[in-house]
Amino acid sequence: MNTIILVGNPNVGKSVLFSKLTGKFVVISNYPGTTVEITRGEMSLDGEKFTVIDSPGVNELAARTEDARVTCDVVRDHPDAVIVQVADAKNLRRALLLTHQLATLQRRVVLVLNMMDELDACGGHIDARKLSELLGIPVVPTIATANTGVHLVQKSVGTASVPRFDVRRGSPDPAVAPDRQVSDGGTGDLRSEEVRGLETGAQPGLLAINDLLGQTYTHVRPRRATFAQNLGWWAMHPVKGLAMGAVALLFTFWFVGMFGAGTCVNFLEKTVFDGYISPAATRVADALLPMDQPVTRFIHDFFVGDYGLITMALSYGFAIVLPIVLTFFLLFGVLEDSGYLPRLAVMVNRVFRAMGLNGKAVLPIVLGLGCDTMATMTTRILETRKERVITTLLLALAVPCSAQLGVLLAMMASVSAAAAAFWFLLMVGVTFLIGWLAAKLYQGDTSDFILELPPMRRPLLGNVTMKTLARLEWYLKEVIPLFVLGTAVLFVLDKLRLLDKLARLGEPLVKGWLGLPPETAQAFLVGFLRRDYGAVFLLDAAKDGRLSPHNVLVAMVTITLFMPCIATLFMIARELGKKTAAWITLFVFVFAFLVGGIVDKAAHWMGF
C-alpha cells in the first residue's frame, strides 16, 4: 500500500491536514509539541488506498528531542513514502530549510503552504506557481482549518518528486527587483546585497533558499501590530504578563472550582444521584433481589450496597468527578488554542531554571492538571533526560490531575480557607523543593531555552468542542472502569471481612503516623490504583464527620502526593524505563506519607 507522511515545522497544521485527509479525529492545539507520537490513518484516492502518517513537528531532520526522533525514524522506515511537507506560509524560509534536507535525502515531496489566510493578513504573498517551477515539485496553497485546497493536496500526491535546489540557477532577476524594494519595509531579509554577501562562505543550501525566496516571496504591506499580537506581547510583559496570569488563574478557579465543582456537582450529586438514581436503583434491587438469600443478597450489595457499583463507583464517577473534568477540559482547550501556554513558559522560565528545567517544562506540567498520564508522554518535547526525569517526577508527585483536583476542591469546602491556602502553598513549595533537590542530585544538563511562540488566535468553538468530547470519551473509557474495579476490590475485601484486618494492619501508619481514623486505610489502598478515587473515600469520610478539619488537611496532603494512577506508572515505565519508574514510585509513596505525618505533627503543634 502507498504511504504518505506528513512532515513539517512544529505548529504548522499537520494534524489539521491529517484529520481533513483521513477524516480521523486527532487532538489539535496552538502550541508546538501537541503531537508527540505518530498517528496513522487511511485515505482513498481514485480507488487507491493510501496510509497517511502524521508526525511530530521538526525543524530539522535531526533527533534532538524524543519527539523529533519519532519523526526521523518514521521518515527513515518508509523509504518509498511520499512526503507531504506542511509549511506555515508565513515562515517560508524555515520550511525551505527542511525541504532542502528532504531533497538531500532524495525524497519525493509535495509542499503544502498552509495558513495562507494568515500570510495574507500580515501582508505577504507567495508565487506558488513559480516556487513549484523552481523546486520542480507540486506546491499547494491551503487553509487547512477551512478545508481550502485540501483536495488539491490529494491530487498532487501522484506528481510528487525530489525537490531541486540549484545555487546558480536564479541569478537575481531584474523583474522581481521592485518587489524586493517593498520587502525592505516589511520582514525584508531578501535584499540583494545580503544575498550577494552570503555567497562567500555560506552554505550552498542557504544561498539557494535565499534565492528562491527572492524570486517568490514578496511583502506588499508594511506590518502593523494587530490586537492579537499586542495581546501576545502583554502576556509576556514582566508586569502585564503577571496580571494576565493572575486573571487566567482566577478565572480557572471560578469556572472549575466554583461553577464545576460547586454548582454542577451539587446538582448532579444531590438532585440527580441522591434524589433519583440511587433510590430508584435500590428500589429495583430490593424488588428483584431479596435480602434473605445469601446469593441474591451478595448481588444486591454488589450493585447498591455500601461498596456498590451504582451507589458508589458510578455516583462518584459521574456526579463528582465528571463535571469538574468537563469544565476543566473545556477551559483547557480554549487556553491551548489561544496560544497562551508557550507565553506562560516565558514568564516562568527563570523560576524553572532553579529546578534544573527551562520554561518549556511548564507545558507538560500544565497539561498534567488535565491528565498526568498524557502529560508524562508530552515530556518528550524536553531535550535532555535530566529534564524529562525531573518533570516526570514532579508530575507524579505534586501535580493533581483534573479528576483529583475536583475531589480535592470538594474536600476543601469542609476545611477553612486558610487550610486550603496552606495546602496550595505546600504543593507549590514541595514542587520547588523537590525540583531544586533533584536538579542538584541528578547529573546532567539543562537544555537551552529556545522556544517558538505561536501567534495568539481566537479559539475555534468547533475544535474546542471536539477536543473536549474526545477527552471526555477517554475519561469515560479509562477512569470509570478503574473506579468500578477499585469498588469491586473493596466490595470483595469487605465481604471476606478482610477490610477490617487491613485497616488494623495499616493502623500504625494511618493512625499512628498520620493520626487518621484506621478505616481511612482503605482510601489509601484504592489510592494505589487511582489517587483521585482514594481521595473520594476521604471526601466521604469528611462529609460523614468522621474526619476533623485537621484530619482532612493531613489526608488531602498525603493523597495529593500519591502516585497519580496505575496508567501513569505504566507510562513512566514506557517513557523512562522500568528502573526509573520503580525509583520514582518508591520515592513518591514514602515521601507522601512522610510529608503527611509532618503536616499532622506541625498542625498539632500550631494548634490547628
Binding site: 524560509r93 524555515r94 552570503l198 506581547w233 537551552d448 529556545i450 517558538e452 511562540l453 501567534p455
Partner: protein
C-alpha cells in the same frame, strides 16, 4: 584538567594559571565588556524595539547557532528585539522566539545601515 585540579595550562607555551573562582566570574560578569568588532553588537546591548541584522554567533556557540538557524536565524536575516525581560524575545520574519539571556549574549548583530 583533573576533577580536583583547578589549573588551566596552555599546551604550547606551558603557561598555567588557576581557574577563576565562581564568585570572581560572577563579579566579572558585571564589568563584562563584549569583545565585538566594528559596528557589531551583542543582542543584549540593544534596547527593546530595535531592528538589526544577524551577523553570526559568538565564538564557541556554533552548536547554538545551528539550533537557531532552523528558525530562520541565518546570516543576513533581520531581527527585531521585542523585549528583554523576563526572557529575550526576538522576531525573525514571522517567527517569534523566546531566548535565555546567555544565548542572547552570544548573538552578534549589526545595526542596519
Amino acid at each position: 584538567m583533573g576533577k580536583f585540579c583547578k589549573l588551566i595550562k596552555c599546551p604550547s607555551c606551558q603557561y598555567e594559571f588557576p581557574e577563576p573562582s565562581h564568585p570572581l566570574r560572577w563579579l566579572a560578569k558585571w564589568f563584562h565588556k563584549p569583545m565585538t568588532g566594528a559596528g557589531a553588537l551583542e543582542l543584549t546591548q540593544l534596547t527593546a524595539g530595535e531592528t538589526v541584522e544577524f551577523v553570526g554567533m559568538a565564538h564557541g556557540a556554533e552548536r547554538r547557532g545551528r539550533a537557531l538557524a532552523v528558525y530562520g536565524m541565518t546570516p543576513g536575516a533581520r531581527l527585531t528585539l521585542q523585549q528583554k525581560r523576563p526572557a529575550y524575545l526576538v522576531r525573525v520574519g514571522e517567527t517569534e522566539l523566546a531566548l535565555d539571556a546567555d544565548i542572547a549574549r552570544q548573538i552578534i548583530v549589526r545595526r542596519a545601515p
